[in-house]
């Protein structure tokens, strides 16, 4: 057997206060593709940055990192030696394509630089030529022109292709990728993953792919390492680990990621350590509130018609409800004006939403799925009266929106509440949890506020003693629970969630999804759930609308849309996100 491309032995990383990586060891054979999965904080990125010798100054690494053909322990090698190896024998692609390129330099020159630095091309001219060739290999249209572009002129997916071209420029033995597709749309993600696999295979390079997403590993890698709290808890062939995980943590991780496996109540399996969220109506609080909020009339669950938008066909009213829908949108358009190219040129009109019509029935759970720029966030903002339609009508709970004053919207604001994506940024860091949760309440006495906040926190599975703490003292999942408590305290009838679980680790995601499902049932909410993640929508929603380029292209009962998609865009989206059973089947063969 030949020497491994990468050999890591007893790698330990410590901060001045504590040890973060507890002695991990693994080898990667020449040409082998290995995935490293784990949740945030598990130390997987630390492992890769240690290999590259790019740890922050405050952290120290011990152990040994050896690269095939380099007779030095990279952890103790000098900076000069590392500079010869980095970018040449091993290269790395980082997570954030938006910020990983120098904004002031043409991308072609940035790619050429990695060749001139290592003198792998005889001249700058030839390095530039090869840069264009590399851009063609990562399938950028018009590579010669793309080489002259500045980073801000490229999309996220295009920038990640540029970074990939850069990393592969010197045909490295080892390519490290740290969450290379996490920031990208699902269809772009599939393309970039395909490229990574292809480029590595062509050059015979080895790959270490770091991700939190088991699906990504299953698509690209042969072997997988599972990291948990700074140690590798399991390793094996991808098919084996997915189909028959051995370690309890791996079992939990895979179970939580699998949104198709539910118990008899339709709830996801969550890590055993976390207590199941119980919604115990406490002694006095909720029952009394229940009494003064009129229980909404719930219609029996209805099945939406399964329809698609025909090219050039007439506009369709999707999911049309007979009687009184909770939300009714007709011919909604939203345009933005952008400064034209020339000084006196007319402003360009950018279409955010084009002629949208749909209903949401009371008690329905509508998922809105789309990629970035599709208009889904604009739609959400309009439904919450945070933005105005350019034309068309929007009625929510009988209240027409658009041109309405904030005073007229007071009751609307009580009945329609939101949960946002970023559990970090959407809570005021200087407010206590009790004040955050109580803020939407108006004209309510102090004692009642306290009782309701307590009851609401209990309902989202948080103890009453969290009330006097500040948001930074909580994890992402806990913060999202606080956001949900804040949204539900006014006893709304409609809950709008924008990517509410996208920033969470899979095990936490499962808990929050279960909580949302419980609460929607208990409070009889009408739910509009906006997400880029098809799996999450399939699990949580009974009806799904697929939105692309400002239009709904397909809408129907979730199962029908996923199993028998009518529109080509929906098909593309669904094929880009294989379900867990698909992955197991695929990687086993």
């Amino acid at each position: 057997m030949t020497a491994p491309a990468l050999s890591v032995t007893d790698l330990r990383v410590s901060s001045p206060f504590t040890e973060l990586l507890h002695g991990i060891s693994f080898d990667i054979a020449a040409g082998e593709r290995v995935g490293l999965i784990g949740e945030s904080g598990s130390g997987k990125s630390l492992a890769a940055t240690s290999v590259m010798g790019l740890l922050p100054d405050t952290l120290t690494a011990t152990g040994s990192v050896r690269l095939g053909g380099v007779d030095a322990n990279l952890l103790t090698a000098g900076e000069r030696r590392l500079n010869q190896v980095r970018g040449n024998t091993m290269a790395m692609v980082f997570q954030e394509p938006m910020t990983a390129l120098n904004p002031l330099m043409r991308v072609g020159a940035q790619i050429a630089e990695i060749m001139t630095v290592h003198r792998t091309q005889p001249s700058r001219r030839q390095a530039q030529d090869r840069a264009a060739l590399l851009l063609a290999q990562v399938k950028l249209p018009d590579p010669a022109q793309a080489a002259l572009a500045f980073p801000h002129q490229l999309s996220g997916g295009q920038r990640q292709r540029v970074l990939l071209a850069m990393a592969m420029a010197n045909d490295p033995q080892l390519l490290l990728c740290d969450e290379p597709t996490t920031a990208l749309d699902v269809t772009v993600q599939a393309e970039v993953l395909g490229l990574i696999g292809g480029l590595v295979a062509d050059r015979g390079s080895s790959l270490l792919l770091i991700t939190h997403d088991i699906a990504v590993v299953a698509q690209v890698c042969q072997r997988v390492l599972v990291m948990h709290r700074g140690t590798i808890v399991e390793e094996g062939l991808v098919g084996q680990v997915l189909a028959a995980p051995q370690h309890p943590y791996t079992k939990n991780l895979i179970a939580a990621a699998d949104l198709s496996a539910v118990d008899d109540r339709g709830r996801l399996r969550t890590p055993t350590s976390a207590p199941r969220t119980r919604i115990a109506p406490s002694r006095t609080g909720p029952s009394r509130i229940e009494a003064d909020a009129a229980p909404p009339v719930i219609q029996p669950p209805r099945r939406a018609a399964h329809q698609r938008l025909e090219p050039g066909g007439p506009p369709i009213i999707f999911n049309e409800v007979v009687g009184e829908p909770a939300i009714s949108v007709r011919n909604l358009s939203r345009q933005y004006r952008r400064n034209g190219g020339r000084l006196l040129a007319p402003k360009q009109i950018v279409h955010g939403l084009r002629d949208l019509s749909f209903d949401v029935a009371e008690g329905q759970r509508l998922g809105i799925v789309g990629e970035s720029g599709s208009g889904k966030s604009t739609l959400m903002r309009i439904l919450c009266a945070l933005d105005q339609p350019s034309s068309g009508t929007v009625d929510v709970l009988g209240q027409p929106l658009g041109g309405t004053s904030e005073r007229q919207l007071r009751e609307f604001r009580r009945q329609v509440q939101m949960v946002f994506q970023d559990p970090m940024g959407s809570l005021d860091p200087r407010m206590k949890v009790r004040d955050i949760v109580a803020e939407p309440l108006q004209h309510v006495g102090r004692a009642e506020i306290l009782a309701r906040v307590q009851a609401q926190l209990a309902a989202v599975g948080l103890d009453a003693d969290v009330m006097d703490r500040h948001p930074h003292q909580f994890s992402g999942g806990q913060r999202q629970r606080i956001s949900i408590a804040r949204a539900l305290i006014t006893r709304p009838r409609v809950l709008v969630a924008d990517e509410a679980v996208s920033a969470l680790d899979v095990s936490v995601r499962a808990q929050v999804l279960n909580l949302l499902a419980e609460l929607v049932d208990q409070y009889r909410l009408t739910l509009v759930f906006v997400s880029h993640d098809l799996g999450v929508v399939r699990h949580l929603c009974d009806t799904v609308a697929v939105i692309s380029d400002g239009r709904i292209v397909e809408c129907g009962p979730t199962g029908d849309v996923y199993d028998r998609p009518l529109h080509p865009y929906t098909r593309k989206l669904i094929s880009a996100t294989p379900s867990m059973p698909d992955l197991v089947r695929r990687s086993a063969t």
Partner: protein
Amino acid sequence: MVLVILRRIGIFATTGIVASIVTFLLLAILPGNAARIALGVQATEADVAAQATAIGLDRPAVVRYLDWIGHVLVGDFGTSAVSRQPIGPDIADALGITVILVLASVVLALLFAIPFGILTAIRQRGPDGAIFSSISQIGVAVPGFLAGLLLVTVFAVTLRWLPAGGWVDPADDFSGFIEHLILPAIALGSVQGAVLSRYVRSAVLDVMRDDFMRTARAKGLGTARALFRHGLRNAAVPVMTVLGLQIATLLIGAVVIERVFSIPGLGSLLLDKVALRDLPAVQGIVLVLVVFVLVLNFLVDLAFTVIDPRLRSES
């Protein structure tokens, strides 16, 4: 690119017009009458009224403004209310001196701030970094006129290396000109340099944390090379913003420093004319100072578009 520059020129012209109106109005509403000042306190009301008619003070403000600005645009700043001499040549001479002084001090400030700021950023954690930081902290705290007096005491009075004040025209005696320029330029530039070095330091620290610097190191560039090839140009963007803002402060400083070193620049001229209550001259000088700031800011804006391609895009 061309359109971006045209737009900037448009903004520059508009600001200039507004500034001239404001200058004119400020001096028009100030108490004190140019006609009475010209004639002295002994003059009778009738004499003052006649004088007002003679110098056109009885016309409406709009007409007077247009008359004034029309002449200014062709370089005619009118005549002094006190000396009856044209103001233009005086302003031109003084402006030349102030421009040299301000530019010299900006160059000195940058020569100090850029290396010093980078050094304190790189040596952030070391003891030398702390020492450098405290030096620049002291520089920030010392006012320019005090620095000027200290410099004069040490280098002019005690060591007798350089003259204590005055001005020599470079055309007459170039080495004398340089000798006379050194101390005031240092006095004026040191404070700006100290302030700027703080901004250079924080800009470099920020840029060293940027993702693209990590990319550069992952490509195999050493820390220093990554900083010089990728970091500094990016760090220049926020530093230039501060530089633009500092220019106005620098001119105020120049007024004081010119006094300390007896330099016949715009600042000295302004103070002289204010003391004489020579309103037409004051009005002209203030306008020139304002336009000077605008021109420098305009140049900073242009430099931005050269450095940062994101500002060049025309959409």
